[in-house]
């Protein structure tokens, strides 16, 4: 029996070891490029934009913009709105807006001469955002700020909504100093034999000077990446109360003043479904079951070859936008600030002398040269107190330009 156990152990080991996973080189010779069109035309009077790009290979870094195309929108009244290439988008030459009741079609002619056209789209119901609210709430075990979008369509015809937001927040560097350090080079001094000076080689020294630009207060702006969708289909009223963003009270972005700009697009069912599929497929499946992968069409078709794969959706959507601001102190009075962007803002000292420990001249100068630590203070003789750059200079990860819409 003992002998037998050994055998089974051996076999089981083999069994365990043999079930292996290895990287598999799958032939990507079947790579097919496909045109990707992203266009949401709105009822705002502006230069409308359309993005046109190409699918790129899995091992490439994108995006791969489609250049040299002729892009234009036509309507059922014979108007034609021409677009021109600007950087990475196509922008309408003149400002115009979608009018209710008209049928719009997007047309693209690539530089290879291939033609693509979208289905006809009409403007969706215009429903304005009533307001945006920011309230302190507890979601599960986390407390934080819940931002909700509220709107109401008395005609009960909007139903499908897509949201985008851009959040902007003020950052204040916690260990900021008006002074900064830099490495300077003193040139070599030639020997002055007449005075008996043997000369000196070129040498480096640390210069402490006043900061020349704003580094204490910064502003960061982030755009929503996820596809945010909502529908009011199961409600009797077309009333929206959509939790668009939840920010934990441990998130540094609400430490001082925070602003969110929300855009609400009213969609038609087909556009909504397209975005929903895109969203479902991109989020990984649950632990238990994977998602069904596959290709899915939008509303853009090739004129010459109707079965050609074209990705993307052209929609004509009524948009409404709204911005709010709030301060941390107003929502969380007397509560400590959330942890800063950089959690390790400990000040460290460096003795600027050559040689072995405790001297750390080489380390210190390298830190200053690479700007990985910023200056806090100096203790004679030559002990520099330094902190991680993010703690002393917010421009290392943010921008010191005050956004034009910012109201303090």
């Amino acid at each position: 029996m003992k002998y037998f156990n050994k055998i089974s152990l051996l076999l089981l080991l083999i069994f365990t070891i043999t079930s292996c996973t290895e990287q598999y080189v799958f032939q990507n010779t079947d790579f097919e490029s496909a045109l990707v069109v992203e266009g949401t035309m709105t009822n705002e009077l502006k230069n409308q934009t359309i993005r046109v790009s190409q699918v790129y290979q899995l091992d490439e870094t994108g995006p791969k913009f489609e250049t040299g195309a002729n892009v234009y929108i036509t309507d059922d009244q014979g108007n034609e709105y021409q677009f021109e290439e600007k950087d990475t988008v196509y922008e309408s030459i003149s400002a115009f807006k979608a009018e209710a009741g008209r049928k719009y079609q997007l047309k693209i002619r690539t530089k290879e001469g291939k033609n693509y056209t979208s289905d006809e789209q009409t403007l969706t119901t215009e429903t304005k955002i009533d307001n945006i609210t920011a309230t302190v709430e507890k979601v599960g075990s986390e407390s934080g700020v819940q931002i909700n979008v509220n709107s109401f369509d008395p005609t009960n015809s909007s139903k499908y909504y897509r949201y985008e937001y851009a959040e902007t927040y003020k950052i204040v560097a916690p260990v900021w100093s008006p002074l900064e350090t830099s490495i300077q080079i003193s040139p070599a001094i030639p020997p002055d034999l007449e005075n008996g000076f043997p000369g000196a080689p070129a040498s480096e020294y640390i210069l402490i000077s006043q900061r020349k630009k704003e580094t204490e207060t910064c502003f960061s702006t982030k755009k929503s990446e996820d596809i945010l969708l909502n529908n009011t289909n199961d409600q009797s009223d077309d009333r929206v109360h959509f939790p668009i963003r939840f920010i934990s009270d441990q998130n540094y972005i609400i430490s001082h003043r925070y602003s969110i700009f929300v855009k609400q697009y009213v969609q038609n069912l087909a556009a909504y479904t397209y975005y929903k599929t895109l969203k479902d497929l991109s989020t990984s499946g649950s632990v238990l079951s994977p998602k069904q992968p596959g290709f899915f069409y939008g509303n853009i078709k090739s004129v010459e070859n109707p079965t050609e794969k074209v990705i993307g959706y052209f929609e004509v959507s009524a948009v409404s936008s709204e911005r709010i601001f709030f301060n941390y102190a107003d929502l969380f009075p007397k509560k400590p600030l959330p942890p800063y962007y950089e959690s390790d803002c400990e000040i460290k000292d460096y003795l600027d002398c050559p040689g072995d420990f405790p001297c750390r001249q080489a380390v210190l100068r390298s830190l200053i040269r690479t700007k990985s630590r910023t200056y806090v203070s100096l203790n004679e003789p030559w002990t520099y107190f330094m902190v991680k750059a993010a703690c002393g200079d917010c421009t290392t990860f943010s921008s010191n330009i005050v956004p034009p819409f910012w109201i303090d």
Binding site: S8, E22, D234, K309
Partner: protein, 927 residues
Amino acid sequence: MKKITLLLFLFVFQHITYSQVISDKVSVEFKNANLQTVIQNIEQSSYFKFYFDEKWFETDSTIISKQFKEVRIAEVLDEVLQNTSFNFYISGNKIILTNNSVIYNQLPDDYFGIPLEKDENGVAIAPVFYQQYDSLKRTNTRNPNKNTKEIIAIGKEVKNQKKETYTLSGYVRGGKNKEVLSNILVKIAGTKFATTTDKNGYYKLQVPPGMSMVETETFSYDKVTKKIMVYNDGTLNFTLIDNVNQLDEVLVKTNKNKNAKAAITGVTTIDTEGIKNVPLVLGERDILKVALTLPGIKTAGEGSSGYNVRGGKEDQNLFLLDHAVLYNPSHFFGFFTALNPYTTKKVDIYKGSIPAEFGGRLSSVFDITSKTGNFDKFQGEGGIGPATSNLMISTPIIKGKSSLIIGGRASYSDWILKSLDDEKLKNSQASFYDLIIRYNHKINANNDIESTLYYSKDKFSVSSDSLYKYSNRLATLKWNHSFNEKNKGSLIFTNSEYKFNIDYQTEGMNSFDFGYKINETQASVKMAYLFNEKHKFSYGISSKLYAIDPGYLNPKNPESTLIPIDVEKEKGLESAVYIGDNFKINDKLLLDLGLRYSSFAALGKSTQRIYEQNLPISDATVIETKTYANNEIIKKYGGFEPRIAVRYFLTADFSVRASYDKTYQYIHLLSNNTTQSPTDIWKLSDLNVKPESAQQFSLGFYKNLKNDELELSLEGYYKNSKNILDYKVGADLLLNENIETELLQGQGKAYGIEVLLKKQEGRLNGWLGYTYSRSLIKLNSQFNEEKVNDGKYFASNFDKPHDFSAVLNYRFTKRYSFSSNFIYQTGRPITYPIGKYDYGNAQYTVYSDRNKFRIPDYYRLDIGINIEGNHKIKKLAHSFWNISVYNVLGRNNPYSVFFVTDKGQIKAYKTSIFAIPIPSITYNFKF
């Protein structure tokens, strides 16, 4: 000798005329008297003298208590001998008792050579008993070495009763353990009187009166011939002796009798006894794995628990274990079959035409039958393998009347894993067990009861944070009753339950407990009516109640952000009536006609969404939510399912068969894994999910070559199906309250040609099979989101056009044999990511058309050596060693190919399960 003496008496007395000079009335009283006492009493109280053989009474247990006063002796004897096999003949004061036969006081008209009328079967009707005895005696004296078989008298003769046929019934047992044998042909030599034993080994045969030779015919046992003298209905049991040359060599016994005579196409029987030489992974004897080497039966991948039969989905197979549905017939992701190999008797697989008695699944029926326990003695069988051990014990409860068979199997991988040093392996789990108990009780010749209880459980973890458990439970109760010679029936109750549970433990707060359960209860009546030689009818009715608990999710941590979910329960009633006629038009042409009507009612309590017509079903198109009360009918579906098969013999060994079948299915398995997994869920048809239906046309040619040594068959089929379930791109199925929004129902199309060459006998035996088949599906709609691959037909997940398998055995000596099997299959289809693009502020992956690519082809060779213990008859246990190597070529067959996004790079990985040869050794024993 006694009988011959009797015969002499008979000659002496035939000229004595009956006289009534002396009073023939007697007065006697019997109190719990046996026959011998009765006779003594009569002799004492009257002047009558009895002539008989005392030995006859040794086996007679008649007890009589009765008082007679001045009753004529004939009446007394009539009453006393009423329930015995004895007849009497009164001549003067002499009473001659005869066993079975009646003494005639005159010779029959035809005794001296006048030809008798013969009936259509070529058997004389009139009693020709004397002459038969005479001629027998003459044969014996002339040729003493031949035909010296004892004549067995059947039944008690009744004077003036002239029936064309009598009923002979009994049991057929055989083998070392005297187990009951089913499907054994019992026939009267040289006539058309023939039948086969049922699964309890019981047969009922119409026999002509008089002398006959009864024979049994089977492949694994020696032929037994018995001479019988039929006087009346009677019993005759057979004990068959192993046919040593063939035992263990016959791998898959296509039931020859069935094959030769049945009209239906695409039926295969696999016998467990026959498969023990086939090399299998980890030495497990596995009846369903053997099925995979037959044309038309496939699995999506090594280690996939589902079977695909003739291009059908995994959920389209009805697995029946002793009549109850077995929802998941596999252990550990399909590596092992959840059937005890020692209690399983056989599996009948219907992949072509499905008899009308079965229904509810589109593609096939796997009718698994368990063994019946030994009615006479205790016996057991077992096997010890590297991963699991099996034991079967069979014992009589009441000798000759009832028996119990218990089978158990357990894996010990868990224990081995725990004893390992590796920390990662130590914490992983993989264990399973199954248990089966079967009870048979013979009440009398016309009634018997059988019952099966079965339970299987699996527990495993694929990652350290989740523990998966699933279990099957089923119970059956069946009462078989013979109303008369022509009518038989069974009343069957079954209950099956399948459930799974996932215990997800994570470091954070999101631990949860997830579960699913399906339960069904069925009552059915199955009747058989042998109308005449030409028509055999079968008919029945069944009704099944489903209760599904589609899932709950309970967060384990009160702080959890997870929301508890409890999806609303589903209920449904599936009922069916059927009638079938096996209609033999002539010797060459046989029709098997069946008609089944099935219906399904989705029942409340439930809330169902109503979606806007002519729009895709999605959350966005709901117009109303309707609530139904408990047991209120939500929606009814139903339809006729004709099952027609025809067989025609072109020549004696060449037949052609054609069939048409229609099937409905009201329960669907939701699985968007390419392979079936234990966490797939069954869903009933309801307001928004229509039942699936399929039609299959098949045509087959069957030819026996070289004196039946080789069997060649060629079958072709074309199948189309409707409302086949598939999923929208991006579908998420688990715990989805409104699952219909993720589903698509499309058309399926499958066709194929299957060639099978079998050699059942001889030193070299086995089979070669090749299948070319396609399985396609079309999901079309006017809406893009409901269209897959542009609304054109595309390959299903299990479309594997080329499939070749060879199973060969070679027997060196009686003790040593070599076996091998080879399998080649086209790789299955897969959907690849083919590129990336930017949209909005994020990056997305583009996938190819659904199932546009294929994973590499699959092939595998396994070999095995079987060593039988010595053949001494008197031994404590008979043993058998199996040494086998799985995947000798070490082929790295991909089980799955998947994609992972790693630092913005999408990488493909393939997983193989058995990438190197796996040796194993199994010890089997029998006592």
